[in-house]
């Protein structure tokens, strides 16, 4: 049996699980048990991947603009980057509309991932992924020379379920609830990772501020020391000048006294010469 998965990826994200269930049931009813199992294992797209899929279906003209501009950039015509940017902006605006129409919140984080997905698809194309059926977010373009780069994870082959880890029979959880729980856990993990990253960045910034403050304080201290040294040298110079002045005064005084003594000596000698024998 051939299953048209387009309906699955075109559906609102909130209905993905229900549509998947229905398609799997249809396949099973038609006798295609392996097909049904494969459909049941199809992963639910991330919100940003879902938005990409909706754009692929609902904004073909904008998509064509993006592809044309991206081809031009890749061929060396960097002037097409403006067209590429305009197409990305238009696609982003359309994604917000589509998300709102599907009661799907378009958060800033989701829109940032959408931008990355669109730029990656514009740069590399869909690769192994069937167009309009993106499930996971793509790495940003610019890493294509990296040996480990893969465009997107292909659909994983069916695998045997792992052996149970406990003897107590697990409580049966409806599939959609389990799926929601997985999504919630993923969202929580993502939020935790984002918070951790924000905390790390804040800590890095704090450390950097402290380091720069230390450098500034150190420079100020060095400047103060240098200034004190200058003041000290100036004081020493002043003292030395005063000492020199005092010495000069002493010399002048001594010279004056010597001259006075010389004058007295001459007077005495003259008096002695004129004195009667």
């Amino acid at each position: 049996m051939t299953v048209d998965l387009d309906a699955l990826y075109a559906a609102p994200l909130g209905e993905f699980v229900a549509v998947r269930k229905q398609l799997a049931a249809d396949a099973k009813a038609a006798g295609d048990r392996p097909g049904a199992a494969a459909i049941a294992k199809l992963a639910r797209p991330t919100p940003s991947a879902w938005a990409v899929n909706q754009l692929w279906r609902g904004a073909a003209n904008l998509w064509a603009l993006l592809e044309r501009a991206s081809r031009a950039v890749a061929s060396g015509d960097l002037s097409a980057m403006g067209d590429q940017r305009a197409a990305l902006a238009a696609l982003r605006a359309r994604a917000i509309e589509l998300s709102q129409a599907a009661a799907q919140p378009a958060s800033e984080a989701m829109l940032a991932r959408l931008d990355t997905n669109l730029r990656a698809l514009a740069a590399h194309g869909w690769g192994a992924v069937t167009p309009g059926q993106l499930v996971e977010d793509l790495p940003p373009p610019g890493f294509d020379a990296m040996p480990s780069f893969t465009l997107a994870a292909p659909m994983p082959p069916p695998v045997a379920p792992p052996p149970p880890l406990r003897v107590v029979p697990p409580v049966a959880v409806p599939e959609d609830r389990a799926d929601d729980a997985v999504a919630r856990a993923a969202a929580e993990a993502e939020a935790a990772a984002a918070a951790a990253e924000a905390a790390r960045q804040a800590e890095l910034a704090r450390v950097e501020r402290a380091r720069r403050a230390t450098v500034v304080a150190e420079r100020k201290a060095l400047a103060a020391i240098a200034h004190a040294r200058v003041v000290e040298l100036a004081a020493v110079a002043t003292l030395a000048r005063a000492e020199a002045d005092r010495a000069e005064l002493a010399v002048t005084d001594a010279r004056a006294r010597a001259e006075a003594a010389d004058r007295d000596l001459h007077v005495a000698l003259a008096a002695l010469a004129s004195a009667p024998p």
Partner: protein, 283 residues
């Protein structure tokens, strides 16, 4: 070999004396010693020297640079080699000869070390030159591609004019230029606080200079570079309604507002774009 230059270690220096007291040169040497990555990307490296940290900032012109084999590449203000790392290792760009020019020897020494470590332009003849761009004795019409990222904004306008005139001489006819986020937009709303601050702040040799689209167009034509490259694009980029930070302090809600307008509608690009890039076709 570069005439009039001598090689010391991995770096070419002018054969005469270098003015090590030059304030502009001293700033970049100091930044290389403090945190070269922060200087180039605004990301605090905390001493990390892995590839991801060194290339933490990746502008679209580099991440989407056409994968090519280029002839001779001249980079103005190459720093520790962030752009060549992205081009060579991420984009798979190769070249015959790469001449990286920077005024700070400390940056070039790092570049040489990172080049060995990461194999940047491994098969090319790489020459790292500690000088101003117009001092590098390259033959007329010998450069195929001239690149620069976030460098001209710090240079005095007369130096930029001189550098462009030199580039017009050494670039081959039909050669390519890619000057990414190089010219702060003098008409940008988001740049107004920075411009106002610049009017009253104490003078600093590397304080950014602002350019209008008209000035850049005149720069390209008067220098002769427009005639060499043919068609070129002055592209507004880095869209911000207001700076998200002012003197390293986060401004509340501004980041969110900026993201809403990135990218902006075409009509607003020249008002919201805080930087201009200039580029021509990479052939």
């Amino acid at each position: 070999m570069l005439e009039g230059f001598v090689r010391r270690g991995d770096v070419f220096f002018p054969a005469g004396s270098v003015d090590s007291d030059d304030a502009y040169r001293a700033i970049w040497n100091q930044e290389a010693d403090d945190d070269a990555v922060y200087s180039a990307t605004g990301v605090v490296s905390q001493g990390r020297e892995d590839f991801a940290t060194l290339t933490a900032t990746r502008q679209r012109l580099w991440t989407e640079f056409p994968r090519r084999h280029l002839g001779t590449v001249l980079e103005i203000g190459c720093g520790y080699g962030r752009v060549p790392m992205i081009l060579s290792k991420d984009r798979g760009v190769t070249c015959d000869r790469y001449v990286g020019v920077d005024i700070a020897a400390a940056m070039l020494t790092r570049f040489a070390r990172y080049r060995r470590e990461f194999g940047v332009f491994a098969d090319a003849d790489v020459q790292l030159v500690c000088a101003s761009a117009e001092e590098v004795p390259l033959a007329a019409d010998s450069v195929d591609v001239a690149i620069s990222s976030g460098v001209f904004l710090h240079m005095g306008k007369q130096f930029v004019h001189r550098t462009f005139a030199h580039l017009a001489k050494v670039l081959r006819p039909g050669g390519s230029i890619v000057f990414d986020t190089s010219f702060p937009n003098a008409r940008s709303f988001g740049m107004l606080p920075v411009q106002l601050y610049g009017l009253f702040a104490p003078p600093k040799p590397n304080r950014v200079k602002h350019w209008s689209r008209r000035e850049l167009d005149a720069l390209m034509r008067d220098s002769g570079l427009a005639a060499k490259v043919g068609a070129f694009t002055i592209e507004p980029t880095v869209f911000k309604v207001l700076p998200a930070r002012f003197r390293k302090r986060e401004l509340p809600l501004v980041d969110r507002l900026n993201r809403r307008l990135d990218p902006p509608p075409r009509l607003l690009e020249d008002l919201v774009g805080t930087m201009y890039s200039i580029h021509s076709r990479v052939s």
